[in-house]
């Protein structure tokens, strides 16, 4: 009886795992096999490096940068997980190549569309932190920090104005061009 109950529990656990496998496997595949454009990767690395350097300073700018860094990193994780990878397909699509192995981008774009207000809210939070950072930088006469804050807000606007819509355009183009998935 004990064995049988254990078997039932094991079977339930297994079936639960199997039920979630396609979603987690798909997400894992998105994360592992679809990079972001190299130019944007470099921008992200540089932004994090600079914000981290400010976060190590003493005083108000350092204090704000430490808090902003957490929000910023979380947003970048989201961008790298499913907002920016579709953009890697732009050069091929621009050359007229559309192949079924690009279908992964459609699922990512569906996530972007579903999460647009959440993503926008993250940009809003980042802008608010950068505003605080800029004001503290002005008071502390830290011109480099002020410039960093302005750059990061401009990047945030670029995401809203260009990157996210461009990724959606790519996904919708693929949806229109590729035959429906079986």
């Amino acid at each position: 009886m004990g064995l049988s109950r254990a078997a039932v529990v094991a079977a339930m656990a297994l079936s639960t795992c199997v039920a979630f496998l396609p979603v987690s496997a798909a997400r894992a595949q998105q994360q592992q096999t679809h990079p972001i454009p190299q130019s944007i990767r470099l921008d992200h690395e540089e932004a994090i490096r600079q914000l981290t350097a400010v976060a190590q300073r003493k005083g108000r700018t350092g204090e704000i940068a430490r808090k902003a860094l957490e929000v910023f990193k979380a947003h970048i994780r989201r961008e790298e997980e499913y907002i920016l990878p579709p953009l890697t397909l732009a050069p091929a699509i621009a050359e007229g190549r559309v192949t079924p192995d690009m279908r992964w981008a459609i699922a990512m774009v569906d996530r972007i569309k579903a999460d647009r207000e959440v993503i926008f809210a993250e940009h809003t939070t980042i802008t608010a932190w950068m505003n605080q950072l800029a004001e503290a930088a002005r008071r502390a006469h830290q011109k480099d920090v002020l410039e960093l804050a302005e750059t990061l807000v401009a990047d945030s606007l670029a995401d809203t104005e260009v990157m996210e819509p461009a990724a959606i355009v790519i996904g919708e183009y693929l949806r229109a061009k590729l035959p429906p998935a079986q």
Partner: protein
């Protein structure tokens, strides 16, 4: 009689002096709100658009109409003209007031701060 007139004149002058700084103080407080919450994106110099459009001359301006700034369709098509009432509503909750706005700003939730900010914006002419 002349003492009475002097007292009356002093009272009038005193109330006038009290009234002027009170108005100026609102705008001054609003300037602080602007610096803390808007300054990263907006300039107040004529024609100087940055991440957001210049706020010089914002009161009385039609939304989405500042030359040299690329607005969202939401702002361009809102039909709003900025005055004390429309600014108050927009600044309280920008995205709800003009859906599609690309202004990444949650809004000024504190009513007094909002009034101060609008008082400051009204001075930008």
């Amino acid at each position: 009689m002349s003492r009475f007139l002097l007292a009356l004149a002093a009272a009038i002058a005193g109330s006038a002096l009290l009234a002027i700084p009170a108005r100026a103080q609102n705008a001054q407080a609003g300037q602080q709100v602007f610096r803390a919450q808007c300054g990263i994106c907006h300039d107040v110099a004529p024609g100087k658009n940055r991440i957001g459009p210049t706020l010089f001359g914002i009161v009385g301006r039609k939304a989405g109409s500042e030359a040299g700034f690329t607005y969202s369709d939401g702002n361009k098509n809102s039909g709003v003209t900025w005055d004390e009432t429309t600014l108050d509503k927009y600044l309280a909750d920008p995205r709800a007031t003009i859906p599609g706005t690309k202004m990444t700003y949650a809004g000024v939730k504190n009513e007094q701060q909002r009034k101060d900010l609008i008082a400051y914006l009204a001075t930008l002419h």
